[in-house]
Structure formats: C-alpha cells, structure tokens
Amino acid sequence: MEQILPRTNRRESQSSRMWSGVTGSMLLVYGMKRGSLLGRLVSLAGADLLTHSITGHHIHETLGLTSSDEGISHQVGVQVRRSLCVGVEPQQAYEFFRKFQNLPRFMKHLESVSILDNERSRWVAKGPAGTHVEWDARIISDQAGEMISWRSENNPVVANSGSVQFEKAPRGRGTILRVSLQYAPPAGALGAIIAKLFGEEPELQLSTDLKRLKQVLETGEITTTEGQPAGGRRGRQAARVREDSTFQGS
C-alpha cells in the first residue's frame, strides 16, 4: 500500500521542471534499452527525475524515505516475517546473529557482510547475472539476548530494514527466533530485479534461511546433498567434468 506524502512547499520554475522531465525521460529510455543492472539504475535515476518533474516528488519519497526519515514505512513495500524454534539459549542465538559477518552462512542471497564499526556494517548481496549490490546497514536497536534491529543507509534503491527477537521458548526448548524483514522495491522492471535480490519468494527464502541457521546452531553444519553421486544424465555429466579436468592436467 503506497502512501503518497503531502506535496512539499518547493517552488521550482517551469523551465527547470521541463528540463528535469526531458532529461529524465532520456535517461529512462537509455537505461531501459541497456538492460543491465547499471542500465536499470540509470533508468531509475531517469524515472526519478521524470517523476519529480511531473509530481514534485522524488521516487524515494514514494518509498517512504524522506530526509526526516526514521525508517521504512511499514505501509510501503514488502514485509516478511518468520519465526522458528532453535534449541540453544537466547543469549547464544543472539551472539551468533549479532556478529553480522555470520549472516551469509545461512542467508543465501548475501555474499558477504563486513563490520565497519560498532554500529555499521557493509552488506554485499548477489544480484542477477553475477552482479553485486552493496549497502551499509546501521544497528538501530541492540538489546543483548533479546533483540536486534537494523536499517540500511546509503542505497535507497535497495532500502531495507530488519529485526530479530530472541524469545525464550517454553519447557527448556531453547529460543523462538522472530525475524522480520522489510524492503521496498520500486515499481516496474527495477523492482523485479531488486525483489530477486531478496529472493523470488521472500517468505520462502527467509524460511529456508532460518532452517539453515537452526542447523548451524544445533548441529554445527548445514545439511546438504550437494556433491553426492547420482546415475543417469547427472552421473554422465559428473564423469565428463572429471574427464575434462584430467585433460586440462588439473
């Protein structure tokens, strides 16, 4: 549900708005013709200019991010929530999660997370066709053993935020993790690309990620069959790969 914010009191000249409109449309068309992620971002910039020339609003305003922003409006964009019971104490689950560099281990859309300082980290996600998208995240709330929440900072296109609560499970069963992720893909083709960053079916993605987290915390491993033998076409493909490597002397 989009929430259009009230028109700000900006006065711009007719000609400057026309200029924005023309440049914006050109960038939009150029970007769409390019088709790559860069092209998408260019077209986004163009769309922004065009939108502004017509409506007086920037695109990021329609995403609910204003300069006086306190976070992504929960009425805009996508929110996914998932909870899962994990058999370790809340403090242990919290400590593992709080080290954000651990996140790529179970969140498969993330390539890496590096710590910048006590509050900030740099996240790199796998984009489509081998591209990467980066953003910085800042911890907004950090209550040891209870909850963490964070919000992205410097890349409005992939603006996202999230939180995780660590609730003591009944009967000594460990911790109920409650994760909530929000992101706001812009409309249209770019939005579809951004959506892919967070998983085509974000709730499914989050659910699978949490299962992996449970496996890591409970068993120390992520359960998998990747690399196991099979017959049929898969077996022949594996045999061909081995032959090729021998041929190349590796």
Binding site: L204, K214, E218, T219, G220, T225, E226, G232, G235
Partner: protein, 388 residues
C-alpha cells in the same frame, strides 16, 4: 562405483556412478557389504512417490565397513556398522527425545516437504527428493551424514544377514508391536505377512502376547507366519476377514491390530474396488483396505498400530466406528536408533531369528530382476538381500 538407480516406473538400472565423498565434517563413508530391498522401495518402483528423478540411487537398508570419516566421532575406519534408514542429527529436540525419524535438521528439502504436508521429518536414504534426495545404499559405497549418530557398531560374532535388518524392518516390526500397549496374554492381529509383519508377529510374542493372528494371501508368507506360531487367515479364502476374526475371538475382536500393509493394500471387497477405481482416477492416493478392516475388527477400547506406510489421503475411513469404540491409534516412521542396542541383544540371545525371512540372495548387478521378483512376489519371494 556400481549403484542401483531409479529411472521411472518399474525401471531400475545398475549404473557406474562416482564414488561418494565427505561433504560435511560429521560425515562418514561406508563400504557396503550387504543391502536389501524394502517393501517401501516398491512404492518408488511402482511410481507412487513423487519427486523421484532419473538417476537417483535407491536403498535404505544397508550395512558395511567404515572407510573414511570427516570428523573425530568415535567411528574408526575398519569398523563394522549397520546404518538406520532415517538420518538423524542427534542435536534437535526430537533426536534428543529419541524420536529420530522426526529429526528437524536432516532434510535439506524440508521446505519442499513442508509446502506439501505442512511439516518435515528426517531425511531418508534413497527415498525421493521430498525426503532430502539422499543417495541410497543399494550401491558399493554410501555417504552417511552425522556419522557420529547413525552408524551402529555390530559384533563380528554375528553375520551380516543376522544384523542387517536392524537398519529398518526389525525395529519397525518391534515398534509396531510395542505401540500396541500389550498386556500379558493379549490377542494381536497382524495384517500383512511381509518382512515387517513377520517381525511384528515375533515381537508381539516377545512383548507378552497370548495369541497372534496373521492375515495375508501368499502361501509362503502365511507359512512363515505359522512358523512363528501365528494363526493365519488367507483373505482370498474367506468371505469376510473381519467376521472370521470375530469368530476366532468369541465376538470380542483382538486387543490390538497391526496394519503392516499400508498404502498399496490389495483386496477384493467392495471398498477395495472403490479404492482402486478412485486411485486410478487420481482422486485418492492411498488404498487403506487393511486399516479399515483393523478398525472394524479391533475390540472396543483397543489399539490400532500402524507401521504400514501411508503417503497421502484416504477415503471412507470408518472414523465413526473408531470413535465409538474408543480406539487408540499409534503410528509413524520408526525411531530406529533407540531400538538397535536392545534388539541386538535379543538377536545375540537367539530370541529373534532375523535371517530366516531372507528368501533371495543376489549380487547387486542383478537388482533389476530382483525388484521385479520381489514386486510380483514370484518364486515365493519374501525378502531380497543383495551383495555389492
């Protein structure tokens, strides 16, 4: 290595495939010395189980020698082990409670199974991608995840044939009998005299039954049941199995009924015909003839124990009868791990003769023919073991 690979309905082939390797630190690689075809493998063979892919390696009853371990876990190369058919992590709530077939962590495709059924249990060896897509043990080697939990060491004093069935069917038959809430002298009826039913019969005696009635139609299976002191009913010879059982028990009905048949039940009653028609029209997936009869035969306030595999939905279940009688139902996949030590002790003491159910012994290379014989119950086949 050679492995038995699924290629479609009634099409299994022995192929040359890569050897398994250690993938995770807790893995172990087992060199297989003996493996078997299970009745539930026939559901795969007959195309009842979705998500099979051509080339999937079959087999969940196997044992052998440890050749490689990825992690210090008490297993050493050279040790002789039997491996449970369900894979258990050992760490989750269910594993810690001994409910290993309900393991939370061992199915990498848990999400897929959850979408279908709303939950996921343990991953299984060689039993479709819904249950993890793990390469199975009808092969020369197998990778066993969580090698510190599953593999169970067996003494050299017992042969492979004597201990192989600790992997699945012996604990399954035993758990089925245990689930009957048997009191000393109770009457137990067992539908299905295949290998699981045979072990359920033998286990029922061990657990204090006073009388065991067994139902099937194949003469060699009924004969084997009689060898275990069961009174048998050939359901092709009697008009009404339920009436026959009531006659035998003075109108009371057995105290407990075991359905060791499951989803591929046969039968000639009206309800069986109904099931087959609906199944062919894909309106119903399972054929619960044995279960219906068990509910109808069981005495009031008795127990129905179900080791027989069901996969989907069933129709026309006499739920009103079950409720009115106040029946207890116990069912599910076997939690093999906890039964292996006590059952090994029973085998060592000569209280259970496990190898006597084996009727066919073939090299792994003859697996395709063996599947056919086992499926059609030709040649008086009851249980096939294969040596790689």
């Amino acid at each position: 290595m050679k492995a038995v690979c699924w290629h479609g309905k009634r099409d299994v082939r022995v192929e040359n495939v890569p050897d398994p390797k250690i993938i995770n630190p807790r893995d172990a690689i087992i060199k297989i010395t003996l493996t078997a075809i299970c009745g539930s493998d026939l559901h795969l063979y007959n195309g009842f189980i979705p998500t099979m892919e051509a080339g999937d390696i079959l087999g969940h009853e196997f044992m052998g020698e440890v050749v490689e371990v990825g992690h210090e876990n008490g297993l050493k190369p050279g040790e002789r082990v039997v491996v449970p058919f369900a894979i258990a992590c050992g760490n989750c709530f269910y594993c810690k409670s001994g409910l290993t077939s309900a393991c939370d962590n061992s199915n990498p495709n848990a999400e897929l199974l959850e979408r279908k059924d709303g939950y996921s249990g343990a991953g299984l060896f060689g039993y479709s991608h819904l249950y993890g897509g793990y390469a199975g043990g009808q092969a020369e080697y197998v990778r066993v995840p969580y090698g510190d939990v599953g593999p169970f060491k067996v003494p050299d004093s017992l042969t492979d044939e004597e201990v192989l069935f600790l992997s699945d069917i012996l604990p399954t038959g035993y758990m089925a009998a245990e689930n009957c809430n048997l009191k000393d002298g109770d009457v137990v009826a067992v539908w299905g005299c295949g290998p699981v039913g045979q072990f359920a019969i033998r286990s029922a005696w061990l657990l204090g039954a006073g009388r065991v009635i067994a139902i099937d139609r194949f003469p060699e299976r009924l004969a084997l049941a009689r060898k275990a002191n069961a009174e048998t009913i050939d359901y092709e010879e009697v008009d009404d199995v339920v009436e026959q059982i009531k006659e035998m028990t003075g109108g009371v009905g057995p105290d407990s009924c075991i359905d060791a048949v499951g989803l591929e039940a046969h039968g000639h009653s009206i309800s069986a015909l109904y099931d087959r028609t609906k199944q062919m029209a894909m309106l119903q997936m399972d054929r619960p003839t044995a279960l219906r009869q068990a509910i109808q035969a069981c005495r009031k306030a008795g127990t129905v124990s179900i080791p027989g595999v069901y996969g989907a939905f069933i129709d026309n279940m006499p739920m009103g009868v079950a409720f009115g009688k106040g029946l207890t139902f116990k069912m599910g996949q076997t939690h093999v791990h906890g039964y292996m030590q006590p059952l090994l002790a029973q085998i060592e003491q000569g209280k259970i003769d496990t190898a006597s159910i084996i009727t066919h012994r073939v090299p792994l290379a003859e697996a395709p023919q063996a599947y056919d014989v086992f499926c059609n119950k030709e040649d008086e086949c009851i249980k096939v073991v294969m040596r790689p």
